[in-house]
Symmetry: C2
Subunit: 340 residues, 2 copies
């Protein structure tokens, strides 16, 4: 691949002049400049970013680590970040941690070696994270997304999960529900879920009810109806459940319907996150919507500000309740499990 020197030679100027023609065009006489551009075109010259990066000590790359792209929440956030970053001339180096702390460390180390200008991470648990401990000692600007800001020492972009959990619960309470449960994936892997649960507890207590224990599923993205059935039978049977993420909610609804129950008649189901698909399925998923596009954009802009040396601590982004057919008024229609 042609380099600046060959361009310069073909244009009959020095390397410096050729370089200037690109980086500082006004410093070079128009005719000379054109000669350089012509030569560049003839040789199909393409500036070498690696060299530029080494020279300028900046890569214009930001490293992104999310748990998994199989969850649309992260994929959609990444989509927004990519657009925002590109608009600012930055590229994204993307990795997935698969919720594994050791992978998290390897990935961040790798990205630091690549000299990314900044990092955007979503870690399993911001409260106790080896990778964050390491990053505290580094100077590379770093930002969390989705992780609750408290206790990590890092600025974090996302909604107020506690408040969101409260709002979700209040919505159900307002409809007349009181026997409300909450379902989560593996808790250790999600500090968000914990906060949302605490918000739920807050709302329940506030309304004079006793919060129920969190029901923990084995996977993030797939509900297991059996784990929930104890809560669905008897006098105290739930009339509504909140899932800590939309995938869980959608698969729970599927399981219920597959077993012959209907949503929301037998059980109201709420999700969390607001992935796009939730609007299209039937019944449409009632959920707490995170402003994913905003989150992505804000994350990029906040990080770039940090990179420029500015100090900024953005406020939590507003969540919104998205109503949906998966939630209704509580009914007395009894569950009859095991009829299949």
């Amino acid at each position: 691949m042609a380099d600046l020197l060959s361009v310069a030679k073909l244009a009959g100027v020095s390397r410096a002049t050729a370089a200037r023609a690109f980086s500082n065009p006004d410093l070079v006489r128009p005719t000379t400049r054109e000669r350089v551009f012509d030569a560049a075109k003839q040789l199909a010259f393409r500036p070498n970013k690696v060299a530029q990066q080494l020279r300028s000590q900046a890569t214009q790359m930001i490293g992104v680590m999310v748990p998994s792209l199989d969850n649309p929440v992260f994929a959609e956030q990444l989509q927004a970040m990519e657009v925002a970053a590109r608009a600012c001339g930055y590229s994204l180096l993307v990795t997935t941690s698969e919720y594994s702390p050791s992978r998290e460390s390897d990935i961040v180390e790798e990205m630091l070696r690549q000299r990314v200008d900044g990092l955007v991470l979503t870690v399993a648990d911001a409260g106790s994270s080896a990778v964050l401990d390491k990053l505290r000692l580094e100077t590379t600007p770093c930002l969390l997304v989705y992780n609750p800001p408290a206790n990590s020492g890092f600025t974090s972009i996302g909604v107020d999960n506690h408040a969101a959990g409260t709002d979700a619960t209040r919505h159900l309470l307002a409809l007349g529900h009181s026997r409300i449960g909450m379902v989560a994936g593996p808790l250790l892997q999600s500090d968000r879920a914990k906060q949302r649960y605490s918000g739920y507890c807050h709302a329940m207590i506030e309304a004079g009810f006793t919060p129920r224990p969190l029901v923990e599923m084995e996977r993030h993205t797939q509900a297991d109806l059996n784990s929930l059935t104890p809560e669905l039978t008897g006098e105290d049977a739930l009339t509504a459940v909140i899932c800590t993420n939309d995938l869980l909610a959608i698969s729970l609804m599927g399981e219920l319907q597959r077993e012959g129950f209907s949503v929301p008649e037998n059980l109201s189901v709420m999700g969390f996150d607001g992935i796009a698909l939730g609007k299209h399925i039937y019944p449409a998923l009632c959920t707490i919507e995170q402003p994913r596009a905003d989150i992505g954009r804000t994350a990029v802009q906040t990080l770039l500000a940090k990179i420029r040396g500015e100090i900024c601590t953005p406020a939590p982004l507003p969540h919104a309740l998205r109503k949906g057919e998966s939630v209704g008024m509580p009914t007395t229609r009894k569950f009859k499990l095991g009829t299949s």
Copy 2:
């Protein structure tokens, strides 16, 4: 950030020796080696990949461009690619084209400047693509994913979309359907959809039926029931439709149910792609499953082979029929539209 020279000085050796201690440990006396390692640790030395890349003329990065990460098909493929690439010591530079040809060009240009070792692209239409025309003149190894291999001149990883379309149709035919339609997003933006449609036509003709015209929706991911209603009424009303992707199918099912119809009693609905969510919704989506993990892995491995200079033209990957509750036998139950 500490560099090799400072490490060397602290260890009391030359830069060359320090470098060797890492790249070629056996060439340096064990005691010296340890001194170097100690110094490196003390200074928190972290090798600079940018410099390595400039020096070695290889970035160990592969550039990935997909239309949009909002579609789980691409997100899930990317997930698989990331794991495969990381396992081989490669990183992923990820971009989204948003189905825009001009963005496609900008992105590829940018990645070439970054000197990625190879490219993995999913373009709108491999048959006529400005970006592919440009890449034909370049030497950077390049691979398509999902795009049909024919007519592009590039090797492409994916299933045989024609055959898959045929298989989908045959499945419905075998159940007794004959009035089968096909629904797609914007056709110009998806050569895959065209191939799948031609496969459908093939199967219909083969069975002695007349293929229907493709119904084109305005968006890739959201069905518009109104566009379809003409096909759902009258003597010749459809009993089954195949959608060219799962998101379209899922939203179509939602729309139908929302209007009071049931799937598959009133209309059988098939999807295409096999995104994970399809299994969990109710009715579970019957679809043609693409081996996304395989596709991702194979793409990376094929590209790396190309980068190493090997020649390899992988065969199309096998698709699979995933049965689901969204498809049933044809019934005589009439559609009654507009009853709401």
